[in-house]
């Protein structure tokens, strides 16, 4: 416990809190900008196990704010979950790191949540957040939601039965193109660091057994203006009107809601996922694509740039493809169908 001495000295945690922390198991969904800070902070703080689920690979444009990654990860085109695990194990070998190179879908979310005490939101899209909300409320697992664009961020800790859930705040998912992304508005590293740090503070309270300290509120910050607001959410749960935590209906978890293709924040990319799950032979795929353009492969993915094309396809073993050079879902699906096959 000596490595945690300074943290134990902090009155809010103490030895009892640290012991609870060491026993805790956390799922971090998404390991990009927010997820990098969340994962590093929780591993340094000494959680027992950190499970990381991320569907993406490390790109040069990530390095400006995604603090776990470096140029070597970019050169190797490592999946973020793998690159993060490599780094986190060097930071604290006492913590069990469980990387999953996977999209979090209604099929996979149940298994990913299995046995965890807390879910951290490191995602960049509403669809996954609505899915996490369904899964967390259904299973009774707290989760810490956050979003960050530009210099602006929002944080909301959700404790089933104690606070409103995400859908109390936002009953329906925003329509495509209705809200800003890191791609259109940009984002600065300090905003990410502060938002993620606020998430981690809430996590430390919950994981150290002090869930009663979590208040029903939305924290809104702007690091450029230097403003912070805490907006009360206590009235949102009245009358049990929420479809998720009130009526306990989980359409995102049951696959009744949610698409299979999403635009990736800040990447000029679309992810296309097959409707059925299955293992793809990356070796066969690389050979198949070789005559049609430039192919690079490693054990985790195949990168393919068709001849005379401005697009690049990165295909993972679970059949997902990240198609760079477009934000048009239909165009991305068409490229998927052309080169990978539905």
């Amino acid at each position: 416990m000596s490595r945690y001495r300074k943290q134990i000295l902090f009155d809010g945690l103490g030895e009892a809190g640290q012991s609870r922390l060491r026993e805790s198991r956390v799922l971090c969904v998404g390991c990009g900008a927010l997820g990098s800070v969340i994962a590093e902070s929780l591993v340094r703080a000494g959680v027992g196990m950190l499970r990381i689920a991320d569907r993406d690979f490390v790109d040069l444009s990530n390095l400006q704010r995604q603090v776990l990654y470096d140029e070597e990860d970019v050169a190797q085109r490592l999946p973020k979950a793998i690159a993060a695990a490599n780094k986190l194990r060097r930071i604290n070998s006492d913590v069990v790191i469980e990387p999953h190179v996977a999209d979090v879908t209604c099929q996979s979310v149940g298994e990913l949540c299995d046995g965890v005490n807390l879910i951290m939101d490191g995602t960049d899209n509403f669809e996954t957040r609505f899915l996490i909300n369904d899964a967390a409320i259904e299973a009774g697992i707290p989760w810490i939601h956050a979003g960050c664009v530009g210099a602006h961020g929002q944080v909301m800790a959700i404790v089933p039965g104690q606070t409103p859930c995400l859908r109390c705040l936002m009953p329906e998912m925003p329509g495509p193109g209705t809200s800003e992304t890191c791609d259109t508005a940009g984002v600065i590293g300090p905003a990410v660091q502060i938002v993620a740090s606020l998430q981690v503070v809430a996590a430390l309270k919950i994981l150290s057994g002090q869930t009663e300290l979590i208040r029903p509120e939305l924290t809104v910050i702007d690091v450029w203006d230097g403003t912070l607001r805490q907006l009360k959410l206590s009235g949102l749960q009245e009358a049990g009107g929420c479809q998720c935590c009130g009526r306990r209906e989980f359409p995102f978890l049951h696959g009744d809601e949610g698409s299979r293709s999403v635009v990736l924040c800040g990447r000029n990319s679309v992810q296309v996922a097959p409707s059925t799950s299955g293992k793809l032979s990356l070796f066969d795929l690389a050979n198949r694509l070789d005559p049609s353009g430039e192919v690079q492969a490693n054990p985790f993915l195949v990168r393919f740039r068709p001849d005379e094309s401005e697009h690049e396809l990165t295909i993972f073993a679970d059949g997902r493809a990240i198609i760079t050079g477009t934000e048009d879902l239909a165009e991305a699906k068409s490229l998927y169908a052309r080169y990978i096959g539905a």
Binding site: A146, L169, M173, S179, E180, L236
Partner: protein, 94 residues
């Protein structure tokens, strides 16, 4: 002077990326009157806050005196000269 004798409306800094919307003092005795007064002075703002049917958009959340307003169409809530309205947009990035 903002906040002296009239309800004040603040907008999330995120919204300011699209439309000029500084904090404003506006007269009105209900949330509806206050918001409509803002939209009269700043018509472009209406489209960012309301949809075609005049409902508050799904990713927009309005707080009156630090409490969220659940209704997306009926804003008959009374406001006082010291009231503060805060208009927030959900954020997707991360």
């Amino acid at each position: 002077m903002i906040g002296a004798t009239l309800p004040t409306v603040h907008f999330t800094s995120h919204l300011k990326l699209h439309v000029d919307c500084p904090s404003v003092d506006v007269s009105g005795e209900s949330l509806s009157e206050v918001l409509n007064s803002v939209f009269e002075d700043n018509p472009r703002l209406r489209g960012y806050i309301l949809d075609d049917q005049g409902r508050i958009r799904q990713h927009v959340i309005v707080f009156l005196d630090n409490e969220p307003i659940r209704e997306r169409t009926n804003w008959d809530r009374p406001v006082t000269p010291n009231s503060e309205v805060y208009v927030l947009q959900a954020l997707s990035g991360g």
